[in-house]
Amino acid sequence: MSELTLTVMRLGFLAVLWLFVIVAVQVIRSDLFGTRVTQRGSRREEGRRQQPAARQQAAPPQQRGQQPASGGRRRNAPSKLVVSEGTLTGTTVALQGQTITLGRAHDSTIVLDDDYASSRHARIYPDRDGQWIVEDLGSTNGTYLDRSRLTTPTPIPLGAPIRIGKTVIELRK
C-alpha cells in the first residue's frame, strides 16, 4: 500500500473520530436546549439578579398569589411544576395530564428527602376541565397553599407556593 494512501487513511481516521466527538457534543447541546436551566441563588443574591425569571422567584408570596387571579385559565394553563425551595430546588416536572405524587415513598414522582414530609404526602392532578388540583393525602404535617393548610382538594393558582415541609413547589407557565 502506498505511503500516500496510508497517510490519507491515518488523517481521515482521526477526522472521523473527531467528527464523532463533535456530533456527540451536538446531541448534548440539543439536549440542553430541550430543557430549561433555572438559575437559583441564595436569598441575598436573588435581589441583585438581573434575570426577570429570577426576580419573579424572589417576589414575596403575597404578590405571587395575586397574579394568576386575572386572565383566562385556558390560555394561562401551567406547563410545568417547579421546586423552588428545599433540597430538590430547581427540579422541574412537565405537566402532561399525569398525576404527580409527592412524598418520601420511593415510587413518588417527586421523592422528598425531608423528615417533615410523610411517605405519601400530597398529589397534584388535573380535574376534568384541566384545572390542576392539589390534594393532601392525610399527611402528618400538612400541605400549605400560600399560608393556609389544605383540608380539601384545592385548585392551584399559577405561581402560588405549595409548601410541604422544607420543600416549596409552584406551577409555572
Binding site: F13, F20, E45, T87
Partner: protein
C-alpha cells in the same frame, strides 16, 4: 437536628427535562456511526500490515453491528427514554478496543513470546457476554430504586467479592497483584464487579445518613469539621481500602474504592471538608503502606525513574520490567498525529501490551489527536452519568448515578495516569478498550444501570403511583 440551616445555602442551577423526547433515532444514527468507525479502523490496520483488506472485515463488522443493534433494540423496548449517548459511546470504545487487540494479535514479536495471537476472538466473545448482561440488566431491573432494598446485602456482597482473591487456592497472584481469582481455567477480576455493588451500598447508606453527616458539624477556618463519631464510616472504608492495598498489593483498586466513597460523600453532604479529609487520608495511607510493602515500593520506584527500571530489566535483573519506559517511548514516537494504525511499534511493550498498556498503542498510532478524542469520549460518558444524576428525581438514583460515573472516571484516571507516568502504575484496565473479560462485562453492566436510571429520570410522564393512603383520606370533592 437543625434541618433548617441547609435550605439557604443552595447556589445550584439545576436541570430538569421538560417533555424530553425519547431520542431513540438519534441513538440509532450515532450507533451506526460508532460501528462504522471501528470497521474503518479494522480495514486501515489490515491495509497497513498486509497490504490488503482483512478477510474478517465483513464478519467482524456484522458481529459488532449485530451486537450494537440488539442492544439498541433492547433499549428501545425496555428503556425508551434513556440517554441517547451512553450506548454509542460505549460501543465505539469497545469496537476500537477490539481493533487494537486484533492489531496486536498480528504482531510477530508478541506471537513469538506467546503474549497474543488469539486475543481478539476471545475479546469479541467477552463483548457479546457484556452486551448480554447489559440487556439482562435492562430487562430485570425495571426500576433502579429496587436496588435500595439491598443496601446492606450489597455491602456484604462487595466485601465478599473484594476478599475473594485472598482465599487460598482460589486467588491467583498474577505478576505481583492479588486481584484475580481463577475458576475453571478463567481468571476473573472480582474488583470490577465489586465496584458496582459497592456503589449500590454507598448510595443506599449515604441517602439515609447524609443529614447526620452534613449538619452535625462545627465550623473551623472555613471548613465544616464533622463530629468524631461521624468520622466512623469514612474511617472504616479507609481502613478496608488500606487492607486491600496491603494484602492484594493493588493501589488502583484501593484508590478506586476510597475515591468513590469520598466522591459520593461529598455529593451527599455538600461539604468540601470531606474531600480534604479524603485526600489527606488517602495520601497518608498510600505513603504509610509504601514504607513497608516492597511491591508498592517497586511500583513507586518505577514511576519515579522509569529509565533506571528499563536499564535494570535489560540487564536481566529479576522483578523489573521495561513496560513503563516502552509505553512512554510509544507515546513519544506517536507525536501529534500518530504513526497510523498498524504502523507503530507498541508491541515492544511485550507483556500486557493489549491489556494494561493498550492506551500506549493508541498513543503511538493515533497520536495526541487520537488520545484526546478517546479521553473526550470517556469524559462524555462520565458527563452523561453526572447529567443523569442531576435529572434523577430520587436521592438514591442521584447518588447511585454519581457514584457509578465517579468510579468510571477514577478508573480512567488511574489507568491513563499510570500508563502516561503521572501516577504509579496499577493493575487496573482501561474500561472497554483493554483486553479482559471481567472489565468489559462489568462495565457493560455499569452502562446498563446508568441507562436504567436515565430512562427513569427522563421519562416525561411518570406512571401515576398507586396511593394506598388515598383511600383512607376522606375528602369532599368540589363539584
Amino acid at each position: 437536628m437543625s434541618s433548617s440551616t441547609n435550605t439557604s445555602t443552595h447556589h445550584t442551577s439545576t436541570i430538569g427535562a421538560i417533555g424530553a423526547p425519547s431520542r431513540r433515532n438519534t441513538e440509532l444514527a450515532l450507533l451506526v456511526f460508532a460501528v462504522v468507525i471501528p470497521v474503518f479502523a479494522y480495514a486501515n490496520v489490515g491495509l497497513a500490515i498486509d497490504d490488503k483488506v482483512p478477510a474478517g472485515l465483513l464478519s467482524y463488522g456484522l458481529g459488532l453491528g449485530l451486537m450494537a443493534g440488539v442492544a439498541h433494540l433492547a433499549v428501545r423496548k425496555f428503556a425508551p427514554y434513556a440517554d441517547p449517548l451512553l450506548l454509542p459511546l460505549a460501543t465505539l470504545l469497545n469496537g476500537l478496543g477490539l481493533v487494537v487487540i486484533w492489531r496486536l494479535d498480528q504482531s510477530k514479536l508478541l506471537q513469538s513470546i506467546k503474549q497474543a495471537g488469539t486475543a481478539a476472538p476471545r475479546q469479541l466473545l467477552y463483548t457479546a457476554m457484556g452486551i448480554a448482561l447489559f440487556i439482562v440488566v435492562l430487562i430485570f431491573l425495571k426500576d433502579h430504586r429496587v436496588l435500595q432494598r439491598y443496601t446492606y446485602i450489597s455491602m456484604v456482597g462487595a466485601l465478599f467479592l473484594l476478599l475473594l482473591p485472598l482465599v487460598p487456592g482460589l486467588g491467583a497472584n498474577i505478576y505481583g497483584a492479588k486481584i484475580w481469582i481463577s475458576v475453571a481455567g478463567f481468571s476473573i477480576q472480582p474488583g470490577e464487579f465489586a465496584k458496582i455493588v459497592l456503589a449500590i451500598f454507598f448510595a443506599g447508606y449515604l441517602m439515609v445518613k447524609r443529614d447526620a453527616l452534613a449538619l452535625a458539624s462545627r465550623r473551623f477556618i472555613g471548613l465544616y469539621l464533622p463530629r468524631g463519631r461521624d468520622l466512623g464510616p469514612i474511617l472504616v472504608v479507609w481502613f478496608i481500602s488500606i487492607l486491600i492495598l496491603v494484602f492484594e498489593t493493588d493501589l488502583g483498586t484501593s484508590l478506586l474504592f476510597f475515591g468513590m466513597f469520598v466522591i459520593m460523600l461529598y455529593v451527599a453532604t455538600e461539604r468540601t471538608s470531606w474531600i480534604v479529609f479524603g485526600l489527606l487520608m488517602s495520601g497518608a495511607g498510600a505513603v504509610g503502606v509504601a514504607s513497608f510493602e516492597p511491591h508498592v515500593q517497586q511500583r513507586v520506584q518505577a514511576w519515579l525513574d522509569p529509565m533506571k527500571e528499563y536499564t535494570l530489566s535489560q540487564q536481566g535483573v529479576a522483578g523489573h520490567s521495561e513496560q513503563s519506559m516502552q509505553a512512554l517511548w510509544a507515546f513519544g514516537s506517536g507525536g501529534t498525529l500518530g504513526t497510523g494504525l498498524g504502523q507503530g511499534h507498541s508491541d515492544l511493550i511485550r507483556f500486557a501490551a493489549n491489556s494494561d498498556f493498550v492506551l500506549a498503542t493508541f498513543g503511538e498510532e493515533l497520536g495526541l489527536a487520537g488520545i484526546m478524542a478517546l479521553l473526550l469520549i470517556y469524559g462524555l460518558i462520565v458527563e452523561r452519568g453526572v447529567r443523569t444524576s442531576l435529572a434523577a428525581r430520587d436521592p438514591f438514583g442521584k447518588l447511585l448515578a454519581v457514584g457509578l460515573s465517579g468510579a468510571f472516571a477514577l478508573q480512567v484516571f488511574v489507568v491513563a495516569g499510570g500508563v502516561m507516568g503521572l501516577i504509579p502504575l496499577t493493575g487496573m484496565t482501561m474500561p472497554f478498550l483493554a483486553y479482559g473479560g471481567s472489565s468489559v462485562i462489568a462495565n457493560w453492566a455499569l452502562i446498563g444501570i446508568l441507562i436504567r436510571i436515565s430512562d427513569t429520570a427522563r421519562r416525561p410522564a411518570p406512571a401515576p403511583a398507586a396511593t394506598p393512603d388515598a383511600e383512607m383520606t376522606q375528602v369532599v370533592r368540589p363539584s
